[in-house]
Protein backbone atom coordinates (compact mmCIF):
# COMPACT_ATOMS: atom_id res chain seq x y z
CA UNK A 1 0.00 0.00 0.00
CA UNK A 2 1.29 3.42 -0.80
CA UNK A 3 0.78 6.28 1.59
CA UNK A 4 -0.89 9.45 0.36
CA UNK A 5 2.37 11.33 0.11
CA UNK A 6 3.89 9.14 -2.56
CA UNK A 7 1.01 8.63 -4.93
CA UNK A 8 2.10 8.54 -8.58
CA UNK A 9 1.94 11.99 -10.14
CA UNK A 10 -0.45 12.47 -12.99
CA UNK A 11 -0.42 13.30 -15.92
CA UNK A 12 2.53 10.95 -16.43
CA UNK A 13 5.55 12.13 -18.35
CA UNK A 14 5.57 10.71 -21.88
CA UNK A 15 8.15 7.91 -22.00
CA UNK A 16 11.05 9.44 -23.94
CA UNK A 17 11.69 8.10 -27.42
CA UNK A 18 8.46 6.10 -27.57
CA UNK A 19 5.73 8.29 -28.99
CA UNK A 20 3.28 5.41 -28.98
CA UNK A 21 4.24 4.04 -25.60
CA UNK A 22 1.88 5.20 -22.90
CA UNK A 23 3.79 4.59 -19.71
CA UNK A 24 7.41 4.64 -18.72
CA UNK A 25 8.53 1.47 -16.96
CA UNK A 26 8.70 3.45 -13.76
CA UNK A 27 5.06 4.57 -13.94
CA UNK A 28 3.93 1.13 -15.04
CA UNK A 29 5.61 -0.23 -11.96
CA UNK A 30 3.67 2.08 -9.68
CA UNK A 31 0.35 0.97 -10.99
CA UNK A 32 -1.46 -1.27 -8.61
CA UNK A 33 -4.48 -2.33 -10.58
CA UNK A 34 -7.12 -1.20 -13.01
CA UNK A 35 -8.08 1.70 -10.74
CA UNK A 36 -5.18 3.51 -9.12
CA UNK A 37 -5.11 6.70 -7.11
CA UNK A 38 -2.86 9.45 -8.39
CA UNK A 39 -1.80 12.91 -7.33
CA UNK A 40 -2.73 15.80 -9.65
CA UNK A 41 -0.67 18.97 -10.21
CA UNK A 42 -2.87 20.98 -7.82
CA UNK A 43 -2.13 18.50 -5.04
CA UNK A 44 -5.50 16.76 -5.04
CA UNK A 45 -6.02 13.03 -5.59
CA UNK A 46 -8.06 11.29 -8.26
CA UNK A 47 -8.86 7.77 -9.41
CA UNK A 48 -7.39 6.65 -12.70
CA UNK A 49 -9.84 4.42 -14.52
CA UNK A 50 -8.08 2.41 -17.19
CA UNK A 51 -10.07 -0.68 -18.22
CA UNK A 52 -12.18 -0.38 -21.35
CA UNK A 53 -15.39 -1.59 -19.66
CA UNK A 54 -14.82 0.66 -16.65
CA UNK A 55 -14.10 3.72 -18.77
CA UNK A 56 -17.27 3.16 -20.75
CA UNK A 57 -19.29 2.68 -17.59
CA UNK A 58 -17.80 5.79 -16.04
CA UNK A 59 -18.36 8.02 -19.05
CA UNK A 60 -21.94 6.86 -19.42
CA UNK A 61 -22.81 7.25 -15.75
CA UNK A 62 -24.85 10.26 -14.60
CA UNK A 63 -23.00 9.99 -11.28
CA UNK A 64 -20.14 11.97 -12.85
CA UNK A 65 -20.06 15.63 -13.74
CA UNK A 66 -17.94 17.24 -16.48
CA UNK A 67 -18.40 20.68 -14.95
CA UNK A 68 -14.85 21.79 -14.24
CA UNK A 69 -16.00 24.82 -12.27
CA UNK A 70 -17.20 22.63 -9.40
CA UNK A 71 -14.96 22.74 -6.35
CA UNK A 72 -12.74 19.62 -6.13
CA UNK A 73 -12.99 18.96 -9.87
CA UNK A 74 -9.87 16.94 -10.84
CA UNK A 75 -8.15 19.48 -13.09
CA UNK A 76 -5.21 18.10 -15.07
CA UNK A 77 -3.42 21.44 -14.80
CA UNK A 78 -3.76 24.60 -12.73
CA UNK A 79 -6.42 26.76 -14.36
CA UNK A 80 -7.60 30.28 -13.75
CA UNK A 81 -10.91 30.28 -11.84
CA UNK A 82 -13.74 30.00 -14.33
CA UNK A 83 -15.79 33.13 -14.82
CA UNK A 84 -19.31 33.13 -16.18
CA UNK A 85 -18.03 34.34 -19.53
CA UNK A 86 -15.63 31.39 -19.70
CA UNK A 87 -18.31 28.83 -18.94
CA UNK A 88 -21.39 29.89 -20.85
CA UNK A 89 -21.88 27.82 -23.97
CA UNK A 90 -18.84 25.57 -23.28
CA UNK A 91 -20.99 22.47 -23.50
CA UNK A 92 -18.01 20.12 -23.31
CA UNK A 93 -18.00 21.01 -19.60
CA UNK A 94 -21.73 20.95 -18.95
CA UNK A 95 -24.07 18.30 -17.63
CA UNK A 96 -27.63 17.18 -18.23
CA UNK A 97 -30.09 19.38 -20.08
CA UNK A 98 -27.73 22.38 -20.10
CA UNK A 99 -25.39 20.26 -22.18
CA UNK A 100 -27.96 18.64 -24.47
CA UNK A 101 -29.70 21.95 -25.13
CA UNK A 102 -26.61 23.29 -26.88
CA UNK A 103 -25.31 20.04 -28.31
CA UNK A 104 -28.62 19.53 -30.13
CA UNK A 105 -28.28 22.86 -31.87
CA UNK A 106 -25.09 21.55 -33.50
CA UNK A 107 -25.40 17.79 -33.91
CA UNK A 108 -26.97 17.74 -37.35
CA UNK A 109 -24.16 19.94 -38.66
CA UNK A 110 -21.64 17.10 -38.22
CA UNK A 111 -23.83 14.15 -39.22
CA UNK A 112 -22.31 11.63 -41.60
CA UNK A 113 -24.60 12.63 -44.44
CA UNK A 114 -23.72 16.32 -44.08
CA UNK A 115 -20.02 15.55 -43.89
CA UNK A 116 -20.38 13.54 -47.08
CA UNK A 117 -21.60 16.73 -48.75
CA UNK A 118 -18.46 18.61 -47.84
CA UNK A 119 -16.10 15.87 -48.94
CA UNK A 120 -15.13 17.79 -52.10
CA UNK A 121 -14.04 20.61 -49.82
CA UNK A 122 -11.91 18.23 -47.75
CA UNK A 123 -10.42 16.83 -50.94
CA UNK A 124 -9.56 20.33 -52.13
CA UNK A 125 -7.93 21.27 -48.81
CA UNK A 126 -5.88 18.05 -48.96
CA UNK A 127 -4.85 18.61 -52.59
CA UNK A 128 -3.77 22.18 -51.92
CA UNK A 129 -1.82 21.29 -48.83
CA UNK A 130 -0.04 18.44 -50.60
CA UNK A 131 0.89 20.75 -53.49
CA UNK A 132 2.31 23.09 -50.92
CA UNK A 133 4.28 20.27 -49.27
CA UNK A 134 5.64 19.19 -52.66
CA UNK A 135 6.74 22.74 -53.50
CA UNK A 136 8.38 23.25 -50.12
CA UNK A 137 10.79 20.30 -50.27
CA UNK A 138 12.17 17.75 -49.96
CA UNK A 139 12.84 18.02 -47.11
CA UNK A 140 9.78 19.74 -45.70
CA UNK A 141 7.77 19.78 -42.49
CA UNK A 142 4.66 17.66 -42.93
CA UNK A 143 2.99 19.14 -39.86
CA UNK A 144 3.38 22.72 -41.06
CA UNK A 145 2.46 22.10 -44.70
CA UNK A 146 -0.12 19.37 -44.37
CA UNK A 147 -1.31 18.08 -40.99
CA UNK A 148 -2.21 21.49 -39.59
CA UNK A 149 -3.55 23.31 -42.67
CA UNK A 150 -6.03 20.62 -43.73
CA UNK A 151 -8.28 20.56 -40.64
CA UNK A 152 -7.78 24.31 -40.12
CA UNK A 153 -8.96 25.13 -43.63
CA UNK A 154 -11.94 22.82 -43.31
CA UNK A 155 -13.14 24.05 -39.91
CA UNK A 156 -12.58 27.68 -40.97
CA UNK A 157 -14.74 27.10 -43.99
CA UNK A 158 -17.48 25.37 -42.00
CA UNK A 159 -17.54 28.00 -39.27
CA UNK A 160 -16.98 31.05 -41.45
CA UNK A 161 -13.65 31.99 -39.88
CA UNK A 162 -11.16 33.59 -42.30
CA UNK A 163 -8.32 31.09 -42.82
CA UNK A 164 -5.96 34.05 -43.23
CA UNK A 165 -6.19 34.50 -39.43
CA UNK A 166 -5.00 30.97 -38.71
CA UNK A 167 -1.60 31.88 -37.29
CA UNK A 168 -3.28 34.03 -34.67
CA UNK A 169 -5.96 31.61 -33.50
CA UNK A 170 -3.63 28.63 -33.61
CA UNK A 171 -1.20 30.32 -31.29
CA UNK A 172 -4.03 31.25 -28.91
CA UNK A 173 -5.54 27.81 -28.93
CA UNK A 174 -2.14 26.24 -28.16
CA UNK A 175 -2.04 28.40 -25.09
CA UNK A 176 -5.49 27.18 -24.07
CA UNK A 177 -4.73 23.47 -24.31
CA UNK A 178 -1.12 23.18 -23.14
CA UNK A 179 -0.80 21.46 -19.77
CA UNK A 180 2.16 23.51 -18.59
CA UNK A 181 0.97 27.00 -19.45
CA UNK A 182 0.66 29.54 -16.65
CA UNK A 183 -2.88 30.37 -15.56
CA UNK A 184 -2.55 34.11 -16.34
CA UNK A 185 -1.47 33.43 -19.89
CA UNK A 186 -4.33 31.02 -20.39
CA UNK A 187 -6.71 33.76 -19.28
CA UNK A 188 -5.18 36.37 -21.60
CA UNK A 189 -5.32 33.99 -24.54
CA UNK A 190 -8.92 33.09 -23.87
CA UNK A 191 -9.89 36.77 -23.66
CA UNK A 192 -8.13 37.46 -26.93
CA UNK A 193 -9.78 34.53 -28.65
CA UNK A 194 -13.13 35.63 -27.28
CA UNK A 195 -12.64 39.13 -28.70
CA UNK A 196 -11.71 37.62 -32.03
CA UNK A 197 -14.82 35.42 -32.29
CA UNK A 198 -16.96 38.33 -31.10
CA UNK A 199 -15.64 40.42 -33.98
CA UNK A 200 -16.72 37.70 -36.42
CA UNK A 201 -20.19 37.60 -34.87
CA UNK A 202 -20.44 41.39 -35.03
CA UNK A 203 -19.58 41.29 -38.70
CA UNK A 204 -22.43 38.86 -39.35
CA UNK A 205 -24.84 41.02 -37.36
CA UNK A 206 -23.92 44.06 -39.41
CA UNK A 207 -24.83 42.16 -42.54
CA UNK A 208 -28.42 42.15 -43.74
CA UNK A 209 -29.93 38.73 -42.81
CA UNK A 210 -30.70 38.01 -46.47
CA UNK A 211 -27.08 38.56 -47.45
CA UNK A 212 -25.39 36.47 -44.75
CA UNK A 213 -23.17 33.51 -45.53
CA UNK A 214 -24.04 29.81 -45.38
CA UNK A 215 -21.39 29.09 -42.76
CA UNK A 216 -22.26 27.85 -39.25
CA UNK A 217 -21.52 31.08 -37.39
CA UNK A 218 -23.72 33.07 -39.77
CA UNK A 219 -26.54 30.58 -39.47
CA UNK A 220 -26.27 30.40 -35.68
CA UNK A 221 -26.43 34.18 -35.48
CA UNK A 222 -29.56 34.25 -37.63
CA UNK A 223 -31.30 31.21 -36.18
CA UNK A 224 -30.23 31.21 -32.53
CA UNK A 225 -28.71 34.52 -31.52
CA UNK A 226 -31.14 36.90 -33.22
CA UNK A 227 -34.01 34.77 -31.92
CA UNK A 228 -32.73 34.92 -28.35
CA UNK A 229 -32.18 31.15 -28.05
CA UNK A 230 -28.49 31.73 -27.44
CA UNK A 231 -26.96 34.77 -25.83
CA UNK A 232 -23.80 36.37 -27.11
CA UNK A 233 -21.46 34.82 -24.52
CA UNK A 234 -22.78 31.36 -25.31
CA UNK A 235 -22.39 31.94 -29.01
CA UNK A 236 -18.79 33.11 -28.58
CA UNK A 237 -17.76 30.09 -26.53
CA UNK A 238 -19.44 27.67 -28.91
CA UNK A 239 -17.37 29.24 -31.68
CA UNK A 240 -14.17 28.92 -29.65
CA UNK A 241 -14.88 25.30 -28.74
CA UNK A 242 -15.59 24.24 -32.30
CA UNK A 243 -12.63 26.13 -33.69
CA UNK A 244 -10.16 24.61 -31.24
CA UNK A 245 -11.63 21.10 -31.11
CA UNK A 246 -12.04 21.13 -34.88
CA UNK A 247 -8.41 21.53 -35.80
CA UNK A 248 -5.99 20.74 -32.97
CA UNK A 249 -7.13 17.17 -32.61
CA UNK A 250 -7.30 16.17 -36.25
CA UNK A 251 -4.03 17.95 -37.03
CA UNK A 252 -2.21 15.94 -34.39
CA UNK A 253 -3.84 12.76 -35.60
CA UNK A 254 -2.72 13.37 -39.21
CA UNK A 255 0.87 14.08 -38.13
CA UNK A 256 1.12 11.04 -35.84
CA UNK A 257 -0.54 8.82 -38.44
CA UNK A 258 2.02 9.85 -41.05
CA UNK A 259 4.85 9.05 -38.62
CA UNK A 260 3.35 5.70 -37.73
CA UNK A 261 2.95 4.74 -41.38
CA UNK A 262 6.47 5.86 -42.23
CA UNK A 263 7.68 3.54 -39.51
CA UNK A 264 5.54 0.68 -40.84
CA UNK A 265 6.15 0.92 -44.57
CA UNK A 266 4.33 -2.34 -45.31
CA UNK A 267 1.03 -0.77 -44.26
CA UNK A 268 1.78 2.47 -46.07
CA UNK A 269 2.44 0.48 -49.24
CA UNK A 270 -0.77 -1.48 -48.70
CA UNK A 271 -2.72 1.78 -48.46
CA UNK A 272 -1.04 3.04 -51.63
CA UNK A 273 -2.13 -0.15 -53.40
CA UNK A 274 -5.60 -0.25 -51.96
CA UNK A 275 -7.26 2.94 -50.69
CA UNK A 276 -10.22 0.87 -49.48
CA UNK A 277 -8.08 -0.10 -46.50
CA UNK A 278 -8.33 3.46 -45.25
CA UNK A 279 -11.47 3.27 -43.06
CA UNK A 280 -10.18 0.31 -41.02
CA UNK A 281 -6.70 1.80 -40.88
CA UNK A 282 -8.09 5.08 -39.58
CA UNK A 283 -9.90 3.31 -36.71
CA UNK A 284 -6.73 1.49 -35.70
CA UNK A 285 -4.74 4.72 -35.90
CA UNK A 286 -7.29 6.44 -33.67
CA UNK A 287 -7.10 3.59 -31.18
CA UNK A 288 -3.36 3.25 -31.17
CA UNK A 289 -2.48 6.95 -31.09
CA UNK A 290 -5.25 7.91 -28.63
CA UNK A 291 -4.23 11.54 -28.79
CA UNK A 292 -6.38 12.63 -25.85
CA UNK A 293 -3.66 10.88 -23.85
CA UNK A 294 -4.15 12.16 -20.35
CA UNK A 295 -7.80 11.23 -20.46
CA UNK A 296 -11.09 12.80 -19.49
CA UNK A 297 -11.49 14.15 -15.95
CA UNK A 298 -14.83 13.97 -14.15
CA UNK A 299 -16.10 14.63 -10.64
CA UNK A 300 -18.31 12.07 -8.87
CA UNK A 301 -21.45 13.83 -7.65
CA UNK A 302 -22.86 10.74 -5.98
CA UNK A 303 -21.30 7.52 -4.70
CA UNK A 304 -20.77 5.12 -7.56
CA UNK A 305 -19.09 1.78 -8.15
CA UNK A 306 -16.90 1.48 -11.22
CA UNK A 307 -15.37 -1.96 -11.73
CA UNK A 308 -13.76 -2.85 -8.42
CA UNK A 309 -13.81 0.51 -6.71
CA UNK A 310 -16.37 2.68 -5.02
CA UNK A 311 -15.87 6.30 -5.88
CA UNK A 312 -17.41 8.67 -3.36
CA UNK A 313 -19.31 11.82 -4.16
CA UNK A 314 -16.75 14.62 -4.25
CA UNK A 315 -13.90 12.43 -5.51
CA UNK A 316 -12.33 12.95 -8.91
CA UNK A 317 -11.80 10.28 -11.53
CA UNK A 318 -9.99 10.29 -14.85
CA UNK A 319 -11.08 8.09 -17.73
CA UNK A 320 -7.79 7.14 -19.38
CA UNK A 321 -8.88 6.58 -22.98
CA UNK A 322 -5.38 5.72 -24.16
CA UNK A 323 -4.97 2.82 -21.74
CA UNK A 324 -8.52 1.57 -22.21
CA UNK A 325 -7.75 1.49 -25.93
CA UNK A 326 -4.99 -1.07 -25.26
CA UNK A 327 -7.12 -3.25 -22.97
CA UNK A 328 -6.32 -6.89 -23.74
CA UNK A 329 -9.85 -7.93 -22.78
CA UNK A 330 -11.15 -6.10 -25.85
CA UNK A 331 -8.23 -5.79 -28.25
CA UNK A 332 -6.10 -8.85 -27.48
CA UNK A 333 -2.54 -7.63 -27.92
CA UNK A 334 -3.46 -3.98 -27.69
CA UNK A 335 0.18 -2.86 -27.73
CA UNK A 336 0.45 -4.15 -31.28
CA UNK A 337 -0.50 -1.90 -34.20
CA UNK A 338 -2.63 -3.94 -36.58
CA UNK A 339 -4.78 -2.19 -39.19
CA UNK A 340 -6.54 -5.46 -39.97
CA UNK A 341 -7.92 -5.88 -36.48
CA UNK A 342 -11.49 -4.92 -35.57
CA UNK A 343 -10.72 -1.67 -33.80
CA UNK A 344 -14.14 -0.07 -33.88
CA UNK A 345 -14.67 -0.60 -30.15
CA UNK A 346 -12.00 2.02 -29.45
CA UNK A 347 -13.00 5.04 -27.42
CA UNK A 348 -10.56 7.61 -28.79
CA UNK A 349 -13.56 9.91 -29.26
CA UNK A 350 -14.72 9.36 -25.69
CA UNK A 351 -18.00 7.76 -24.65
CA UNK A 352 -21.27 8.87 -23.13
CA UNK A 353 -23.11 12.11 -23.80
CA UNK A 354 -19.95 14.08 -24.58
CA UNK A 355 -18.65 11.66 -27.18
CA UNK A 356 -17.02 13.71 -29.92
CA UNK A 357 -19.58 15.56 -31.98
CA UNK A 358 -17.03 16.05 -34.77
CA UNK A 359 -16.09 12.40 -35.29
CA UNK A 360 -17.63 12.01 -38.76
CA UNK A 361 -15.65 15.06 -39.85
CA UNK A 362 -12.44 13.83 -38.22
CA UNK A 363 -12.81 10.41 -39.83
CA UNK A 364 -13.40 11.88 -43.28
CA UNK A 365 -10.42 14.24 -42.98
CA UNK A 366 -8.12 11.46 -41.83
CA UNK A 367 -9.24 9.08 -44.53
CA UNK A 368 -8.87 11.55 -47.41
CA UNK A 369 -5.60 12.93 -46.04
CA UNK A 370 -3.92 9.53 -45.67
CA UNK A 371 -5.19 8.10 -48.94
CA UNK A 372 -3.88 11.11 -50.88
CA UNK A 373 -0.60 11.19 -48.98
CA UNK A 374 0.05 7.54 -49.82
CA UNK A 375 -1.03 8.04 -53.42
CA UNK A 376 1.14 11.08 -54.12
CA UNK A 377 4.11 10.46 -51.81
CA UNK A 378 4.64 6.69 -51.87
CA UNK A 379 8.31 7.03 -50.95
CA UNK A 380 7.72 9.19 -47.89
CA UNK A 381 10.44 8.91 -45.25
CA UNK A 382 11.80 10.75 -42.25
CA UNK A 383 14.28 13.53 -42.99
CA UNK A 384 15.71 13.41 -39.47
CA UNK A 385 16.70 10.60 -37.13
CA UNK A 386 13.73 9.36 -35.07
CA UNK A 387 15.44 10.57 -31.86
CA UNK A 388 15.34 14.10 -33.21
CA UNK A 389 11.57 14.24 -33.54
CA UNK A 390 9.99 16.80 -31.26
CA UNK A 391 6.66 16.09 -29.61
CA UNK A 392 4.28 18.57 -28.12
CA UNK A 393 5.09 18.77 -24.50
CA UNK A 394 2.33 17.68 -22.22
CA UNK A 395 -0.71 19.08 -23.92
CA UNK A 396 -4.31 17.93 -23.51
CA UNK A 397 -3.87 16.57 -27.03
CA UNK A 398 -0.71 14.64 -27.86
CA UNK A 399 1.10 15.27 -31.12
CA UNK A 400 4.23 16.21 -33.05
CA UNK A 401 5.61 19.73 -33.12
CA UNK A 402 7.10 19.09 -36.55
CA UNK A 403 7.59 16.11 -38.85
CA UNK A 404 10.47 16.69 -41.27
CA UNK A 405 10.02 14.36 -44.24
CA UNK A 406 11.58 13.64 -47.60
CA UNK A 407 10.28 11.61 -50.57
Amino acid sequence: MSTTTDLPRYPFAEPPGQPFGLLSDLDRHRFDGPATKVRLPNGSDAWLITRHADVRAMLRSPAFSADASRPAFPLLRPEPPQRDIDRKGMFIRMDGVDHSRIRRMLTSEFMIKNIRRIEPLIQEAVDNALNDLRDAGPPADLVHHFALPVPSMVICHLLGVPYADHARFQQLSRMLIGLNNPAEEIRTASDELRAYIRSLIDKVRETDPGARGEDLISRLVTERLDTGELDEQEMINIGILLLIAGHETTANMIGLSALLLIQRPEYYAALHENPDLAPGLVEELLRFASIVRSGLPRLAIEDVTIGDVTIRAGEGAIAVLSMANRDAAVFGDGEEFDPYRQAQQHIAFGFGVHQCIGQPLARAELRVALVELARRFPALRLAVAPEELVFRDRAVVFGLTALPVAW
Binding site: T107, F110, I112, Q344, G350, Q355, C356, Q359
Partner: protein
Protein backbone atom coordinates in the same frame (compact mmCIF):
# COMPACT_ATOMS: atom_id res chain seq x y z
CA UNK B 1 -37.18 -10.61 -37.33
CA UNK B 2 -35.64 -8.32 -34.76
CA UNK B 3 -37.36 -5.47 -33.03
CA UNK B 4 -35.44 -2.32 -32.21
CA UNK B 5 -36.29 0.67 -30.09
CA UNK B 6 -34.48 3.96 -29.94
CA UNK B 7 -34.85 6.67 -27.34
CA UNK B 8 -34.45 10.09 -28.89
CA UNK B 9 -34.44 11.75 -25.47
CA UNK B 10 -31.27 9.86 -24.65
CA UNK B 11 -29.57 10.00 -28.08
CA UNK B 12 -26.65 12.42 -28.42
CA UNK B 13 -26.44 12.22 -32.20
CA UNK B 14 -22.95 10.78 -32.36
CA UNK B 15 -24.00 8.75 -35.40
CA UNK B 16 -22.23 5.51 -34.55
CA UNK B 17 -25.42 3.60 -35.29
CA UNK B 18 -25.68 5.17 -38.75
CA UNK B 19 -22.09 4.25 -39.47
CA UNK B 20 -22.64 0.67 -38.31
CA UNK B 21 -26.01 -0.06 -39.92
CA UNK B 22 -27.08 2.63 -42.39
CA UNK B 23 -30.03 0.54 -43.59
CA UNK B 24 -31.62 0.65 -40.15
CA UNK B 25 -30.59 3.96 -38.56
CA UNK B 26 -30.60 7.53 -39.74
CA UNK B 27 -30.45 10.97 -38.12
CA UNK B 28 -33.04 13.68 -38.62
CA UNK B 29 -32.02 16.94 -40.26
CA UNK B 30 -33.19 19.23 -37.47
CA UNK B 31 -31.55 17.90 -34.32
CA UNK B 32 -29.39 15.10 -35.68
CA UNK B 33 -31.09 12.58 -33.41
CA UNK B 34 -31.58 8.94 -34.27
CA UNK B 35 -34.50 7.80 -36.40
CA UNK B 36 -35.29 4.22 -37.40
CA UNK B 37 -35.68 3.63 -41.09
CA UNK B 38 -36.20 -0.10 -40.55
CA UNK B 39 -37.49 -0.97 -37.06
CA UNK B 40 -37.65 -4.71 -37.83
CA UNK B 41 -34.47 -5.68 -39.65
CA UNK B 42 -33.80 -9.29 -40.68
CA UNK B 43 -32.10 -11.77 -38.32
CA UNK B 44 -29.06 -11.70 -40.57
CA UNK B 45 -28.25 -8.26 -39.18
CA UNK B 46 -28.20 -9.46 -35.60
CA UNK B 47 -24.46 -9.06 -35.10
CA UNK B 48 -24.27 -5.63 -36.65
CA UNK B 49 -27.22 -4.60 -34.56
CA UNK B 50 -25.49 -5.76 -31.41
CA UNK B 51 -22.46 -3.77 -32.50
CA UNK B 52 -24.65 -0.67 -32.92
CA UNK B 53 -25.99 -1.20 -29.39
CA UNK B 54 -22.44 -1.58 -28.02
CA UNK B 55 -21.07 1.45 -29.85
CA UNK B 56 -23.91 3.78 -28.96
CA UNK B 57 -22.32 6.12 -26.41
CA UNK B 58 -25.56 7.09 -24.72
CA UNK B 59 -27.37 3.75 -24.48
CA UNK B 60 -30.23 4.94 -26.68
CA UNK B 61 -30.70 1.70 -28.63
CA UNK B 62 -32.31 -1.51 -27.41
CA UNK B 63 -33.11 -4.74 -29.21
CA UNK B 64 -35.88 -7.19 -28.36
Amino acid sequence: MLSIRVDRDVCVGAGNCVRTLPTVFDQDDEQGLVVLTDPTPPEAQKDLLQEAVDLCPSGAISVE
